[in-house]
């Protein structure tokens, strides 16, 4: 009689431990899911931190700089000429490119290099943008692969965070490739 009673107590103890562990695990999983979803919403709709690599945006952005790119302008269709954007590479969707917007749809862009004698121009088709890096000599951009669809843009770079001595907003285009139209002057 005594041994049956102590067996029941041991079984009940095991069941309680199991229930407690299960409760804690489910609570942990629930919190992970909740914070994971909040993180997704933050990165998708507010902004994300990007580590830039490559020389194509010098001197504005140098190799290994950390910048913050905000997503709201892209979702609200408010990307403008002269903005630096992060976009999906048209040839490899797993890679991102960081370039400056030289022309929006309908704008006139110069396709010849500054050293050419005869300048050729083209108009950016509907729904596309023309991107160029600030380091014209060392950048593969729309001059090689043409205009890219607007929907490939992920976000607009608004702030440089690292290195600390160049913290702050980013400067205007040093290349003077943006052709200003009449409507830009207001």
């Amino acid at each position: 009689m005594g041994s049956a009673w102590s067996e029941r107590r041991i079984t009940r103890w095991y069941v309680e431990m199991f229930r407690r562990v299960l409760g804690k695990t489910l609570g942990f999983v629930g919190y992970t899911i909740q914070y994971g979803c909040i993180a997704h919403c933050a990165f998708e709709y507010i902004g994300e931190f990007v580590v830039c690599s490559g020389p194509s945006m010098e001197p504005t952005i140098i190799n290994h700089d950390v910048v913050f790119s905000e997503r709201m302008s892209r979702h609200l269709c408010k990307i403008q000429k002269g903005d630096i954007v992060i976009a999906k590479s048209p040839y490899d969707p797993n890679m991102n490119i960081c370039k400056r917007v030289i022309g929006l749809e309908g704008d006139k862009v110069c396709t010849s290099s500054p050293s050419d004698l005869f300048k050729t121009h083209t108009y950016v088709p509907k729904g596309h943008v023309w991107l160029e890096g600030d380091n014209l000599r060392n950048s593969t951009d729309s001059r090689s692969y043409g205009p890219i669809p607007y929907a490939l843009i992920r976000g607009r770079v608004c702030l440089k965070l690292w290195p600390p001595h160049s913290f702050g907003t980013l400067s205007e285009s040093p290349t003077k490739r943006i052709i200003k139209t009449q409507s830009d002057s207001d």
Partner: protein
């Protein structure tokens, strides 16, 4: 009186905490896992909207299966239109990168699909805004809203 205010405050706290759980989870599920959309137009007849008119088919889009950017020929996909970033189009994948396509009404009669692109066409040829108009399409997924 004091009991009523604490009950009200409890309900408010429960509502706010529920809100902060439900909205991010719903948004994440709609962005990453599945999305419901209505098919409009006649470009995928007779597969979608076979009768035309006012009845539009409603489809479930599986976002999880394209997270690695891989589709098969014959899959029906929904992308943002390269001509209009505020509009999504639903078409069938005809060719993947590296394939040679004989086009119907495109500027070149034979096209090699470049890397990172694919060729899409609507089932209803002639009534469809697809790669025969704008060329090979790439991985544009979310549209912008004005």
């Amino acid at each position: 009186m004091a009991q009523q205010t604490t009950a009200g405050r409890r309900y408010l706290r429960a509502f706010v905490s529920g809100f902060f759980v439900a909205v991010p989870v719903t948004v994440t599920v709609l962005d990453r896992f599945a999305y419901v959309a209505r098919v409009e137009g006649a470009s995928m007849q007779p597969f979608f909207n076979p009768e035309g008119g006012s009845k539009s088919d409603i489809v479930l889009l599986n976002r999880w299966s394209v997270r690695n950017y891989q589709v098969q020929r014959g899959d029906i996909v929904s992308i943002v239109s390269p001509k209009n970033p505020q509009q999504k189009i639903i078409k069938r994948v005809i060719g993947l990168e590296g394939d040679f396509i004989r086009t119907l009404g495109y500027k070149n009669q034979y096209v090699r699909v470049p890397d990172g692109h694919f060729w899409i066409e609507g089932d209803h040829h002639g009534h469809s805004l697809d790669s025969n108009s704008f060329g090979p399409a790439t991985w544009t997924s979310s549209s912008c809203h004005r």
